[in-house]
């Protein structure tokens, strides 16, 4: 696939991208800017016209439903999908999914995917010359419980280089895909680890231009989640704002 960044005559430097990031700091809202030139792949892929405001209609007041036939409980443990144990820092990632009023998003699908401890995805397109781990695929699923809580066991993903600009590195992250109780709550995002030195250099995280808003994507280390001799633990809660009306209130 052709990345617009690779068509450019001169490969931009980190210093140049960092300056672009600084120039756009604080320019957006609580969500990422869609039009964010430091992330080169966004140049031709963001809408150039204003989004049209609308109320949800009909089916949009609802979300697809998932159940026990969709997700096996062992899919929440990314460390037991193969014969051996994956290399890396084993950890628990847990948290609560709620709506904007704090109500739990219960019994709903949550999907995760990530690079392995060396920063390599199993996806064929990932040509980063770091080792694949035969004992790690890096994809998992679970359903939230009645309180909206989820829990995964995995290994800490490594940072990895990418082609946005010369010497671009993504901070370590886990991709999350979530559903709420209404379709417009649909969220795909990334969870980061506290204190990652790569944060200021990363145009994907920095597309959320406010520091406090970026913090919503950074997990918290929680020693109470550690399992002695086994794993460390991180907590990360997700808020899916809306709906303002419950489904029974609409026609």
């Amino acid at each position: 696939m052709t990345d617009p960044a690779r068509r450019r005559p001169a490969e931009p430097s980190q210093a140049g991208v960092t300056a672009e990031i600084a120039a756009l700091g604080g320019s957006g809202g609580a969500q990422p800017r869609m039009d964010y030139p430091p992330y080169r792949s966004s140049l031709l892929r963001h809408p150039s016209k204003a989004l049209q405001q609308a109320d949800p209609e009909g089916v949009e007041w609802f979300a697809p439903m998932f159940g026990a036939q969709d997700v096996n409980p062992i899919e929440a443990d990314l460390t037991i999908q193969h014969r051996g144990v994956p290399i890396g820092e084993r950890l628990t990632v847990t948290g609560r999914v709620s709506d904007g009023d704090g109500r739990p998003v219960a019994h709903q699908l949550l999907e995760v995917w990530q690079a392995n401890a060396a920063g390599r995805y199993i996806h064929q397109g990932d040509q980063h010359p770091a080792p694949l781990d035969p004992n790690f695929t890096g994809a998992g699923r679970c359903l939230t419980d009645s309180d909206g809580c989820y829990r995964f066991t995995t290994v800490k993903p490594g940072p990895y280089p990418w082609g946005n600009h010369r010497n671009a590195w993504r901070p370590a992250h886990i991709h999350f895909s979530l559903f709420g109780s209404a379709f417009p709550q649909r969220l795909v995002t990334q969870m980061y680890f506290p204190g990652d030195p790569l944060f200021p250099y990363d145009p994907i995280l920095q597309a959320i231009t406010g520091a406090r808003d970026r913090e919503r994507l950074i997990a918290t280390y929680d020693h109470d989640l550690t399992i002695p001799q086994i794993s460390t633990g991180y907590r990360w809660d997700v808020v899916l704002t809306g709906p303002r009306r419950t489904p029974t209130e609409q026609s």
Partner: protein
């Protein structure tokens, strides 16, 4: 509370999010089966080969389906939800039933920093009046063979209309 920010789905989602049967909400042999298909294009008109399209729709009679089984379809249960990654030509395609009015669609892609929502309407009559005249056509499917074509243009003069829903992470 403020909604958690979105982030791009990135380039490496397919092995995790795509799954067998994801785009087949009904078997092709279903007497009501129709094809909803199209291409995802960028601002230069080039195909987007690393997009993910999700559809969410009611049954043909307008009823909203609230049944599990979308990830492991049993061949008999219509769940109303499907997922399809675009191929190398930027094409997606679903086998499904025709809704009474529109398919609700979520779009994800590398380079797209947050998801987009659009709707594929069967007729212009149902397109909200608030949509400007010169953009309404982008929300209406084209009849093509036994199916409905709905191309998604992320950027440009003929850009597809995308929706924001007040109260939802706006």
């Amino acid at each position: 509370m403020t909604g958690t920010p979105g982030q791009t789905v990135g380039p490496f989602f397919e092995y995790a999010l795509a799954y067998p049967g994801g785009s087949e909400l009904v078997p092709r042999s279903d007497p009501g089966a129709v094809r909803l298909f199209g291409r995802v294009l960028d601002g230069a008109g080039d195909p987007v080969p690393d997009a993910l399209i999700e559809i969410w729709q009611p049954a043909p009679d307008g009823s909203v389906v609230q049944r599990a089984g979308s990830l492991h379809r049993d061949g008999w249960t219509f769940t109303g939800w499907g997922r399809c990654a675009t191929d190398d030509a930027g094409q997606y395609g679903f086998t499904t039933l025709a809704p009474p009015s529109f398919w609700s669609i979520a779009v994800f892609a590398r380079g797209l920093l947050d998801r987009l929502f659009t709707r594929a309407y069967l007729t212009s009559d149902d397109v909200p009046l608030s949509i400007p005249d010169d953009r309404r056509a982008s929300l209406i499917v084209g009849r093509e063979g036994a199916g409905y074509r709905f191309d998604i243009r992320l950027q440009g003069e003929d850009e597809t209309v995308f929706f924001s829903f007040p109260g939802y992470r706006d």
